[in-house]
Subunit: 447 residues, 2 copies
């Protein structure tokens, strides 16, 4: 008989086979692992924790998103939860604590070692979107006069608790950051040299209240494994490691993509997000876009006479405004990404505009031919075909101008340029495109 | 008088001030640095290289994109270029060589140290999109019987050339990968223990022909600083380091975002891409979308009689199909991202469909009210208002179904789901939406 994963996990726990249980958990995908652990009755979960030991469970927890880890910890007693949290990196532990009800978090903190509880409380005080919010205080630091050999000994001692031992930070008595040396530098040096002779003093560092994205960029740009975080007096508060940065970058990209698609980012992984959460994240933009687009019906009713006279004009409405929207969407997605990776900034506005209008003229010419052919195939009055072709080029160039200017100007105004989503630019071009269409029709057909 | 950057660089080179020159270069942004170096006459560039030394120039080159580094190297003689490439990581050097004309690359390879030239040739043989294409052979490996103390000595020796010394790989005489230990493990162990006792034998590794994205994901998932790359016999061929992975992830995201916006990714950073390159990357999708959307005019001409009878129906065309497109765009961007981070896969199709249809019913109801109000404010026949409201809910649910199903099914067919761009889904929903609109109108208005 094939047993379910939770049942097999329980059996392995009761048979006291930690390696087999761990192996089984590691073979699962992150989502399956979460579901298996959540499906275990509380007593079996406690038994599994007993067998695996707090440290191995802590490693497992660190691989879950903080809210998932919180859901599992909630199913343990406060004392067990506290023991697991003590074994986790303080930054990960603080992230998990932030997901708990304040009363529950307080209950668990009381059970923890007071020094560690204090550290977690301090981390929880920082805005999660800042360098302080993602840093860990688990770094190795030494005074400048210490010799390389002694530092290596201290690294050996602290390796257990430190998030990384690949960088050793040098600070003075007031905790001010003086320099950094890598484990590599240390291993390569004679034992008697003081670290002040080995350290690099030009340290790439982040301010504790700096945006987490800026800190992440700094680490990636300089290809570092970690960067130190300092307060306004230059005191070393913590470090941000490469895997924190990978998570920040991932989250930021997910946000950008959600906004580009015209919705607010979800708070949970897609499959876990409830229907109401999804509705809430989408309905706002849908209504804004609806209201912004509502004037299209005003424009059309304004041209009611033209429309009833030449019904064939209405055939091409979706095609023309669709093409304008497509061009706009191509441009804003390209620009928003170029701004995110800092290829483009406000100073480039004119260059971007000139480039996009040039591209727009080329694309507009192609689309004019395509629309003219389409109208001809459909067999409408050739004069309508001419109007449609001229409109195609006008709309494409117009959409190019709007889409080139908007993201950069919005950034200037302090708005996330990713809100200039594909739907947003499409909606904007819809109404203005119709206005261009019917004005040109009116004029060229002498209505 | 204020001097230009290239002039000042030349002066610093002639005055033999390497530190000042390096400092000045490091203060520039990557783009400014590139432009300054390209603006230097060839003789001044050679002088600067002389003063800075090949190694420092190699570090500068590694921070440029391969094609930019290639443009600078082209301005040096073959011998100088070879010297700089020898000092670069072999993976970076191979990437740069791939950007050069084959004849030029051969000319430079001849000037290089034969062993290093051979290594670069071997790397150039791998598909750049695979693990082999981004790996470096600059790793530290030892045999299993060697004692920890001796390994530390060998690490000291090899640190200069290795890409990372934070992992030491253990292999047998046939180069087969047996295990891995970290510098951390090594530092923490007594000197006499053989590495076979210290190494972990369950190694996270990538196959040499695996997709670079899959390899990147593996490293990030396991929070590693590097992963080994093996061939089909399990022989250690190279390693992939965290900063290679950061670059892969960055490129993949840029590609996904470009496709979501309805264009092919650019080959160069936006500001450097020429007008014709941009046109080429966009015109294909624009035409495909145009052809896909062309049937909207067929649908409309099919309903010509209905349109001339109730012109007011045409007022709401952009608004209704726009809303459908917006909903579709919200869904596909969310799903494409969820698939990219592996939150969602094909097995979830039914769950996704049910979730999106539920969300669609809620959003459709909201939009039905909004469209009805809009029609009422505009003062059209209330029966038209009813048709518009019923259409709103139908189109939103329909768009939800299409957008939920398409990305997952395309992935199944081996197509990049990101091609289901916002413009694509908008176009698809445009025509079908019109059909729904006029069919409902026909039926409800008894035309």
């Amino acid at each position: 008989m094939v047993q379910s994963t939770p049942t097999r996990l329980r059996d392995l726990a009761l048979a006291h086979q930690p390696d087999a249980a761990l192996h089984m958990l590691q073979a699962l995908s992150a989502e399956e692992r979460l579901q298996a652990l959540l499906a275990l009755p509380a007593t079996d979960l406690a038994a599994l924790l007993q067998v695996l030991g707090h440290e191995r469970v802590a490693r497992l927890m660190e691989h879950f998103a903080p809210d998932d880890a919180a859901r599992i910890l909630l199913r343990l007693g406060h004392a067990d939860a506290a023991d697991v949290l003590e074994e986790m990196g303080p930054d990960d532990a603080a992230d998990v604590m932030e997901e708990l009800e304040p009363a529950v978090a307080r209950g668990i903190l009381i059970e923890m070692d007071p020094a560690q509880a204090q550290e977690i409380r301090r981390l929880m005080a920082y805005d999660p979107q800042t360098a302080g919010g993602i840093m860990t205080p688990a770094f190795v630091a030494v005074y400048p006069h210490v010799a390389a050999g002694a530092v290596l000994a201290s690294v050996r001692q602290r390796a257990e608790d430190a998030e990384t031992i690949y960088y050793i930070y040098v600070m003075d008595q007031t905790q001010r950051l003086l320099g950094v040396l890598s484990l590599r530098d240390l291993v390569l040096s004679p034992a008697h040299v003081p670290v002040s002779k080995l350290m690099r003093t030009e340290v790439v560092k982040a301010q504790v209240d700096a945006d987490q994205e800026a800190a992440a960029r700094l680490l990636q740009e300089h290809r570092l494994l970690a960067i130190p975080v300092v307060d306004h007096e230059g005191r070393l508060m913590g470090i941000i490691t490469a895997d924190d940065v990978a998570r920040v970058v991932r989250e930021e990209v997910t946000e950008d993509i959600a906004r580009l698609g015209g919705s607010e980012p979800l708070e949970h992984p897609y499959l876990r997000a409830g229907v109401l959460e999804i509705v809430r994240k989408r309905v706002g933009w849908l209504l804004i876009l609806f209201i912004a687009g509502a004037y299209t019906s005003t424009v059309l009713s304004h041209f009611e006479a033209t429309l009833s006279e030449v019904v064939a004009l209405s055939f091409f409405i979706p095609l023309l405004i669709g093409t304008g929207g497509n061009v706009g969407s191509q441009i804003v997605t390209t620009l928003v990404r170029a701004m995110a990776v800092e290829d483009v900034h406000l100073g480039h506005l004119l260059r971007v505009l000139i480039k996009e209008v040039s591209v727009g003229v080329c694309l507009g010419a192609v689309m004019a031919v395509a629309t003219f052919l389409r109208a001809w195939i459909q067999g409408v009055d050739p004069r309508v075909g001419e109007v449609v072709a001229v409109t195609a080029i006008a709309i494409v160039v117009w959409a190019s101008m709007v889409a080139a200017v908007l993201p950069l100007t919005l950034r200037r105004l302090g708005v996330d340029p990713a809100v200039v989503s594909a739907p947003f630019i499409t909606t904007l071009v819809d109404g203005t495109g119709l206005f261009i269409y019917f004005t040109l029709a009116h004029w060229l057909l002498r209505l």
